[in-house]
């Protein structure tokens, strides 16, 4: 592993007048808004979480919940390559290994990308450049951050392809993405992301475009590599199965905000938000006895331009009228601790939720 001084640069960076981070990755009050002709799209609207090295955070949510926007925000990809007048508005703090990224020099953040933090995308066919060979793309990723000649870089690329389980890597390194199968492409994508041993890996729907058996291979690979490199991993997905397999902690997003966050086991076995209940009830499960009917969440996800006032989930929530004074429709609930390292944002009291979960929801799952 080629070690460049990854932390040294932090001293030259302006440190925000703010309390120092407590974790390897700490996101504080992250907001990502996009101005459009129809209005301001509040894709992420105040998000907080922390992540330690070697641990995995699963971010779950439906399309439009802001989970992908969050990952791009951390990578600084909303500001890079923003052309024209309509720029994304980002605020908050992102502390990575002691450095605040949003206030840092963009070029400094650029240098971190691919080296300290890397990303795996959903559809490897479109995420890999169709005109360059797999090898060229990995070599490029390596040489941005390492002053080595092409030969060395190529050796490294072959090594990485071998590591992610691509057969005959010395030959396949010269293949183009379209000559790979879907699973192979995702392996190549992973090889490219990990070529610089990043300390933070963000996997955005890494297996959604893949078949079940290939998905199992890739999940296994990610797990394996994480164990080997000790990186912090954020897995973004809509599939509760994937999160359950990979994550230590789970963050459930709805309408651009976190509505529940906690250790995986807590979120699955003691969920404290009606939306989480809805997600669990919507899912047909292979590991349980056949149920007669699924329990869907009614209605559709909210528009991010007109997020419902109060609790964003209130129009779809079967328990919206449980708290008094119509509070669910007027006041936005903040996250509150409902257990050890477990937070949820709901107006219902702890007791109410506990009762509903135990009496009404859990038996039906």
């Amino acid at each position: 592993m080629t070690e460049l001084s990854k932390s040294g640069a932090a001293m030259t960076e302006p440190v925000k007048d703010s309390r120092p981070p407590s974790a390897f990755l700490e996101v504080r009050d992250l907001k990502v808004h996009f101005p459009t002709d129809d209005g301001l799209v509040k894709s992420v609207d105040g998000l907080n979480f922390t992540l330690e090295k070697g641990k995995t955070l699963g971010i779950v949510g439906e399309s439009g919940s802001g989970k992908s926007v969050t990952s791009l925000g951390i990578m600084g990809l909303h500001t890079a390559g923003q052309y024209g007048k309509r720029k994304a508005q980002i605020s908050g703090e992102i502390w990575l290994d002691g450095t605040e990224l949003l206030s840092a020099d963009p070029d400094y953040v650029r240098k971190l990308r691919g080296r300290e933090m890397a990303m795996i995308f959903q559809d490897p066919l479109s995420a890999l450049h169709p005109y360059y060979t797999i090898g060229q793309q990995i070599v490029e990723a390596y040489r941005i951050h390492n002053k080595v000649d092409k030969k060395t870089a190529r050796r490294r690329a072959v090594e990485m392809l071998d590591r992610v389980g691509i057969p005959q890597p010395d030959k396949r390194v010269d293949s183009y993405p379209h000559e790979f199968s879907g699973g192979m492409r995702q392996r190549a994508m992973i090889a490219m992301s990990l070529v610089n041993n990043p300390e933070l890996l963000i996997a955005d729907e890494p297996t959604t475009a893949l078949d079940v058996t290939v998905q199992a291979q890739i999940l296994d690979l990610i797990r394996d590599l994480q164990k080997e490199f000790g990186s912090a991993v954020i897995v973004i997905t809509h599939d509760l199965g994937v999160v359950a397999e990979l994550s230590d902690d789970i963050l459930v997003m709805y309408g651009g905000r976190c509505i529940e966050r906690g250790p995986a086991e807590k979120v699955f076995y003691e969920p404290r938000h009606p939306y989480t209940w809805g997600l669990l009830g919507s899912m047909p499960r292979l590991d349980r006895e056949q149920t007669e009917r699924l329990i869907p969440v009614k209605g559709s996800p909210p528009s991010l331009i007109n997020i419902p006032s109060g609790c964003a989930f209130n129009p779809r929530c079967p328990y919206a009228d449980v708290p008094k004074d119509n509070v669910t429709r007027t006041v936005r609930p903040e996250l509150s601790e409902v257990g050890s390292q477990h937070w949820a944002a709901c107006h219902m009291t702890q007791e109410q939720r506990e009762r509903i979960w135990i009496e009404e929801i859990a038996p039906k799952l």
């Binding site: 990809l77 890079a80 390559g81 052309y83 990308r113 691919g114 080296r115 995420a127 169709p130 005109y131």
Partner: protein, 343 residues
């Protein structure tokens, strides 16, 4: 689109042979069509083409002689056959004790100017080629650059201005922009003397004389290319692999210049291949406007004087050039986009 491993030299050769075969078929069709237009259509219209070649005091002997010399008495397929023979082994034009040898490659013989066509073509083709190539280089550079800048500064004053200029470039005919540029830069301000000077005589003079024609011809296309580049670049910038490139930590100029540009080149190249034919038309207009002694000028004079052999020769040589250039474009296409296989 067939897929497979990278095409080997044999595949390229087979592809080339196939393409050349297709090109030959194409040329034969072109020759037949031109023959048809200039020999058959007047006959249907009840006009004897031979009378178009004699002077004011039309002597029947002269008309007959011309008919014989041009081979107009022969059936059309014999005429075509003679023409093809001439291409490869040369041919002899004989009439009234006057014998003219036209050595291979014999593209025909102009009775208006009493010249074999081939030397006319070799004399004039370089001018047209220089005009077309120079203009192509100019429009590719400036059109693509303007398009990229517009895409990157979308919605800015520059973008709007460039697109308005591009729109006017697309809409204005060459003879208008040509005359306008002549009027302003040559006659009016006297900055550029738009007068053709052979390269061998004075390279700088040649260059100076070509600037206005180049710019005029390039303007039309640069405008189109700026528009297509802008649109394509905007589309490409939204592609996932551009995001990937940024996620790797690449500098923005590399993201744009390498990753986005290569993809942007694909439709531009496609368009370029299609424009080559139209380029000849543009070159003819430009040559006319600027009195450049190229193929366009020759063919225009030939059309006015019904000098079929010149028209046929120019049509052939330009068709050859277009077909050849398209072949190059297709090969380049395969180089740029590995998904395109030569089949």
């Amino acid at each position: 689109m067939a897929r497979g491993t990278a095409a080997g030299p044999r595949a390229v050769l087979a592809y080339l042979i196939r393409r050349l075969f297709a090109a030959a078929v194409m040329l034969v069709v072109i020759i037949l069509v031109v023959f048809g237009i200039f020999f058959l259509v007047p006959r249907w219209a009840g006009v004897d083409p031979a009378t178009m070649f004699v002077g004011k005091q039309a002597d029947p002997a002269a008309i007959e002689a011309v008919r014989q010399k041009l081979g107009l008495g022969e059936p059309i397929f014999v005429q075509v056959w003679e023409f093809f023979k001439g291409l490869f082994v040369g041919r002899t034009y004989a009439s009234g004790g006057d014998v003219t040898n036209c050595a291979a490659p014999c593209f025909g013989y102009s009775f208006r100017n009493e010249q074999a066509i081939w030397p006319v073509l070799t004399d004039r083709f370089p001018v047209t080629l220089a005009l077309a190539l120079g203009a192509a280089v100019l429009w590719l550079i400036f059109g693509v650059a303007a398009g990229v800048l517009s895409a990157l500064k979308r919605g800015s004053l520059w973008d709007r201005g460039a697109m308005i200029v591009a729109l006017s470039g697309v809409s204005l005919p060459i003879y208008f922009t040509g005359l306008l540029s002549l009027a302003i830069f040559s006659y009016g301000l006297g900055w550029l003397d738009a007068q053709y000077v052979p390269f061998a005589e004075s390279p700088t003079g040649w260059f100076g004389g070509m600037i206005l024609p180049w710019v005029t011809l390039a303007f039309l296309y640069a405008a189109m290319y700026a528009r297509i580049t802008r649109a394509t670049m905007l589309e490409i910038l939204g592609e996932d692999y551009i995001r990937t490139a940024r996620a790797k930590g690449l500098r923005e100029p590399v993201v744009i210049g390498k990753h986005a540009m290569r993809s942007t080149m694909t439709p531009i190249l496609t368009m370029f291949g299609m424009d080559l034919g139209a380029l000849i038309g543009g070159a003819i207009l430009t040559e006319t406007t600027f009195s450049l002694p190229g193929l366009g000028q020759a063919v225009l004079t030939a059309i006015n004087t019904k000098d079929l052999p010149i028209i046929l020769g120019v049509t052939l040589i330009t068709s050859l050039a277009v077909i050849f250039a398209n072949l190059v474009v297709d090969l380049l296409y395969a180089v740029i986009d590995p998904r395109v296989r030569l089949s």
